[in-house]
């Protein structure tokens, strides 16, 4: 049984780490871009960002004052038991969000969309969002918090099978250029692409691809991995860099996630995880151990399964036949 108090305290710690410390994978990706950037303004911006991350970590202050919209991704093992169950878990995550907003401090960004009601704690109806996934083995819980900037750099479009790879590239370029101008997307960014599923799932997959896979990670399907590399290069060949200035730093990495979709369609979403790529993960065990890391490891083989049964072994399915 995992103590609920431990979950609340760990989630508060996660909010702090995410808000203040830039993940190492993104940092080294950005440093590599800064080294090859030739545009003088774009390269000045990258150097200022590198200084900013250092200032945040040294001063223990948020790297960006725009908190984005803090949310959680929760993965639980099939054997996991949480003290008080899932209702207690959700309450703990809401309480950690409210406390961290005051303590760090984070900017209270969440308001009711119509009346703009603001409780000054980043908590409200459907906020923070909590998404769940499961793992066949394990008695632990993994909590990831992501603070993604909210307003620009994301788009959705229904493409069709006939649009093919050309269509994907076209929509990718359209989105990068629209939001790249003046740097509205706060690039260079980790760009996530969701392909397939139904509309909502295409959005969810693209966002998770941007926020929950680290720089350097490749899709296990080699042909998808190839397309990831191609889109990354395409983005960096627009001629635009940080803040939309002349340069070549747009895409730190590109991640694609797919879901089986309607036979007549190819829905696609694009999400730019901004210069403040804030994510932090903790794995919490029933014996009280808490392991912190910056790789959410969200897309497991189990999550990407194609088969009816799990594990996808022939002998296994025969056993049930």
């Amino acid at each position: 049984m995992i103590p609920i108090q431990l979950i609340e305290v760990s989630a508060h710690e996660l909010m702090t780490r995410a808000g203040i410390d830039i993940p190492a994978d993104y940092l080294s990706g950005l440093k590599a871009m800064a080294e090859v950037e030739e545009g003088d303004l774009s390269s000045f911006v990258l150097r200022a960002m590198l200084e900013n991350y250092e200032a945040a970590t040294v001063d223990r202050r948020p790297m960006c004052a725009d908190t984005g919209v803090p949310r959680y991704y929760v993965k639980v093992g099939n054997e996991t038991q949480i003290e008080g169950g899932f209702v207690a878990l959700e309450q703990a995550l809401r309480s950690a969000t409210a406390r961290a907003t005051h303590d760090i401090p984070l900017r209270p960004n969440r308001v009711q969309p119509l009346w703009r009601t603001d409780y000054n704690n980043n908590v409200g109806i459907n906020a923070p969002e909590i998404e769940y996934s499961f793992e066949p083995d394990g008695d632990w819980i993994e909590i990831t918090t992501v603070h993604k900037g909210g307003l620009f750099g994301t788009d959705y479009r229904m493409l069709f099978p006939g649009d093919g790879i050309d269509g994907i590239k076209r929509f990718f370029l359209d989105t990068m250029i629209t939001f790249g101008k003046r740097g509205l997307a706060c690039q260079p960014a980790i760009v996530g692409v969701g392909l397939g599923g139904s509309k909502d799932i295409a959005m969810v997959l693209g966002k998770q691809a941007a926020c929950l896979r680290i720089v350097g990670n490749k899709n296990p399907d080699p042909r998808i991995a190839e397309l990831e590399a191609e889109l990354k290069d395409l983005g960096n060949s627009i001629g635009m860099g940080a803040m939309g200035f002349v340069g070549k730093s747009m895409v730190v990495d590109c991640h694609i996630e797919v879901g089986y979709t309607h036979t007549g369609g190819m829905p696609m979403s694009i999400h730019a995880f901004c210069l403040s790529s804030r994510r932090a993960t903790a794995q919490i065990h029933p014996d009280g151990r808490v392991v912190h890391r910056t790789d959410p490891n969200w897309f497991t083989a189990y999550m990407r399964r194609e088969t009816v049964e799990w594990p996808p072994l022939k002998e296994h399915s025969r056993k049930f036949a």
Binding site: F44, C64, G244
Partner: protein, 226 residues
């Protein structure tokens, strides 16, 4: 005071910034500020311009630098205000307010995110001798937060909330900022857009058009959508 950083010129300004200093700035200069700056965005504009209510503090003591921002801040138990990081918010949404705001407040410097259009600079900024500074990144919240030495006051905090209140900051080496529009109303972003636009047609070459288009869609990629 001016130094150079690579090919870029760096300038330190003291607020209120005088006209001579403003006229000396060129697009692409790096700027750091010392003195007093204040935040004001839609709810403050509505209150002052729309409702005709004046801030509790006179504009002359607020200086002439208006920051489009809402800080990550908190009111501590002893009543003092503390600011962690500050980041600008996108300015193009506020252009309808600016003519009245310049007239009432006497602001000469706008700090924000993303700038406004060259048309806005010509129509609204040049006639009053105002310039626009953009924050860098735009996520340099921690560096900008470092430059804030003291929160002097936060007006209308209860009514407007942390994000929309009028914050008055005493700052030291507040930056880096970039001159996006100078006294002639040029826009650094637009100058860069023009260069980037030249390569766009080549990028799309050979990509076949999409089968379903959308109402209002443009293929003129030189256009900005703000």
């Amino acid at each position: 005071m001016a130094t150079t950083q690579g090919t870029l010129k760096e300038v330190c300004l003291t607020t209120p910034v005088d006209d001579t200093a403003l006229r000396a700035l060129e697009i692409g200069n790096i700027v750091y500020l010392d003195g007093v700056i204040y935040t004001a965005r839609e709810r403050v504009y509505q209150r002052v311009i729309g409702d005709g209510e004046m801030p509790p503090e006179d504009f002359t003591s607020l200086g002439n630098v208006n920051f489009h921002c809402s800080p990550a801040a908190t009111a501590k138990q002893d009543g003092t205000l503390s600011v962690g990081a500050v980041t600008a918010t996108a300015s193009f949404r506020f252009s309808n307010w600016m003519a009245d705001w310049f007239r009432i407040s006497g602001a000469k410097v706008i700090i924000g995110k993303g700038g406004m259009s060259g048309k806005d600079y010509q129509a609204l900024f040049v006639p009053v001798g105002a310039i626009y500074l953009t924050t860098v990144g735009y996520g340099t919240g921690a560096l900008l937060g470092r430059g804030i030495k003291r929160v002097r006051s936060a007006h209308w905090l209860d009514e407007l909330g942390i994000a929309q209140a009028m914050w008055v900051f005493e700052v030291e080496r507040f930056g880096p900022l970039l001159v996006e529009s100078d006294h002639t109303g040029q826009s650094l972003f637009e100058v860069n857009n023009r260069s980037v636009n030249q390569g766009l047609a080549e990028l799309y070459k050979g990509l076949k058009p999409l089968s379903l288009s959308r109402y209002g869609e443009t293929d003129d990629r030189e256009r900005e959508l703000i």
